[in-house]
């Protein structure tokens, strides 16, 4: 899971309250506890507002970490029109538990592929892997020809000048 991932919610045609549901898939060993992330509505910038969510179901990897979590959180027509929620890495502490009504109209949300790294609330190891594609890696090995040529040149010189 990226440090901060955009949650996109389909805009409804009418106003009112809805329950946005969707599944968050996680790599093995990344998240072991739901306390490690939270959902933030950016309506009150800059820090955003923590949105309470409910866990509908969860599946875990063999190592105990979360494989997939089905979440639900309430949205209002105003929030949905903005379509901007964030799934964030949390610094700790219990998540806001949604205890409101669950018989609301359901909206499907999905995680956007675009994510935004943040410096704050970073509680997991993050690294960068720089990959450089070299179209002609063999060229570097031709440097071996220089000492080979030097030795052969010395050999020929010695053959010529040998007493």
């Amino acid at each position: 899971m990226a440090a901060r991932t955009l949650i996109e919610v389909e805009a409804p045609a009418t106003g009112g309250k809805y329950l946005a549901t969707g599944t968050v898939e996680l790599a093995p060993g990344v998240v072991t506890d739901l306390k490690q992330f939270r959902i933030v509505s950016p309506s009150d910038e800059p820090g955003g507002q923590v949105v309470p969510f409910a866990v509908l179901s969860e599946v875990r990897w063999p190592d105990g970490s979360l494989m997939a979590v089905q979440l639900a959180f309430p949205v209002t027509a105003k929030d949905v029109a903005e379509r901007r929620y964030w799934l964030e890495s949390a610094a700790g502490g219990p998540p806001e538990q949604y205890t409101g009504p669950r018989d609301l109209p359901v909206l499907r949300f999905r995680l956007s592929e675009s994510s935004e790294p943040v410096e704050v609330h970073l509680d997991m190891d993050v690294g960068q892997l720089m990959v450089r594609i070299d179209q002609h890696p063999e060229l570097y090995y031709y440097w071996y020809l220089i000492p080979i040529a030097g030795i052969l040149g010395l050999l020929i010189w010695r053959k010529v000048h040998l007493q």
Partner: protein, 353 residues
């Protein structure tokens, strides 16, 4: 105390190198036990990084280093080093190996050959060590050896060039993009197919080659018969005529290009030579130039394997010397049974003082 002879040291080096090349893999396996554990395939899993020089090939770790003389790649078990320059050149021509594969090995070979020339043949080569064993059997049987003239030796050397040339041409002709029929693949590594090491090295390593009785295809059958015939000729060559095989060995041929010009030199002081001929009699390659040379002082030529039998048996003080970069390593000393050698006399004098 009697000083060990040069022959003693040479035999010691030969036995040690033979053990290292042919059986050293077992020692490496013991040392690396628990780290290289999978037992099949060159891609076997190992705790040793693939980028390092050692990896698991077959069942035991092997180093592909391609020194001038090493053990045959067909030795399935036990070997520590697999590196014949002919196999490298042949395989590289056929498979169009990349510079990443070929050039590092060529650098190793070039450095080693330049430093000591054909000294590898006389002191290190495990195949010639086997041959010397055959020669010992001949001496034990009390049989004389056949002497070959300089003309014969030239013809044998021409045969070595023929073998090398044919190997390289065939290897180039059978490269995969030229495949027109499957029979071409039977010619892969053409010299290896008939090299006595392909059968001899696995046999002495207690790992019989899987191809020693392969008769599945006419070409394969030809090479199986030719391989056994060459192995027989190899044994006969050492039993009847000392190092006859070394005159036709393509590996020795390639190494011989470095013999003259190498910093390891056999040097003669012509004014001290009485042309007694002891060197010519002792030379296992049948060379006479050490006796006949009057002008030039460096005696390295393409055929000399620097076994130093001439230096050991030369009866003249300081007539012959082995030098590395002009620094003397050893010299000939006057030896008569019952008479103290010059060096021994010197040591006695130093002790008395």
């Amino acid at each position: 105390m009697k000083r060990p002879s040069i022959t003693f040291w040479r035999r010691l080096v030969q036995v040690s190198c033979f053990a290292f090349f042919v059986y050293g893999g077992w020692l490496a396996a013991v040392a690396l036990s628990g780290r290289a554990t999978r037992t099949s395939g060159a891609e076997a899993e190992s705790a040793i990084p693939r980028e390092s020089l050692v990896w698991t090939q077959g069942s035991l770790p092997v180093i592909d280093a391609y020194p001038p003389s090493a053990v045959c790649r067909f030795t399935a078990k036990g070997k520590a080093v697999s590196g014949c320059i002919i196999a490298l050149l042949s395989e590289s021509l056929t498979m169009a190996s990349s510079a990443r594969v070929v050039l590092p090995y060529l650098l190793v070979f070039t450095c080693a050959s330049f430093l000591v020339g054909r000294w590898w043949c006389g002191w290190v080569c495990p195949l010639s060590a086997l041959g010397d064993l055959f020669s010992a059997v001949r001496r034990w049987l009390g049989r004389d050896f056949t002497r070959f003239t300089a003309g014969w030796r030239r013809n044998l050397r021409g045969g070595a060039y023929g073998l090398l040339g044919a190997t390289l041409v065939i290897s180039w002709l059978i490269r995969p993009e030229r495949y027109k029929s499957t029979w071409q693949c039977w010619f892969f590594l053409p010299f290896c197919q008939v090299c006595p090491a392909r059968l001899a090295c696995p046999l002495v390593a207690a790992a019989p080659p899987t191809t020693w009785g392969a008769f599945g295809h006419p070409v394969q059958s030809f090479f199986t018969i030719a391989g056994w015939a060459t192995l027989g000729l190899f044994g006969a060559a050492f039993v009847t005529a000392r190092r006859l095989w070394c005159h036709v060995c393509p590996i020795g041929l390639v190494t011989s290009w470095f013999n003259r010009g190498s910093p390891l030199e056999l040097v003669k002081e012509p004014t001290r030579c009485n042309r007694c001929g002891a060197c010519a009699d002792a030379c296992p390659m049948g060379l006479t130039h050490v006796r006949d040379e009057k002008g030039h002082t460096v005696l390295n030529n393409a055929e000399c394997i620097l076994c130093l039998r001439c230096l050991e048996l030369c009866p003249r003080d300081d007539c012959l010397a082995l030098k590395f970069a002009r620094v003397p390593l050893t010299k000939s000393h006057f030896k008569v049974p019952g008479r103290p050698q010059p060096l021994a006399a010197k040591e006695q004098k130093e002790k008395s003082e």
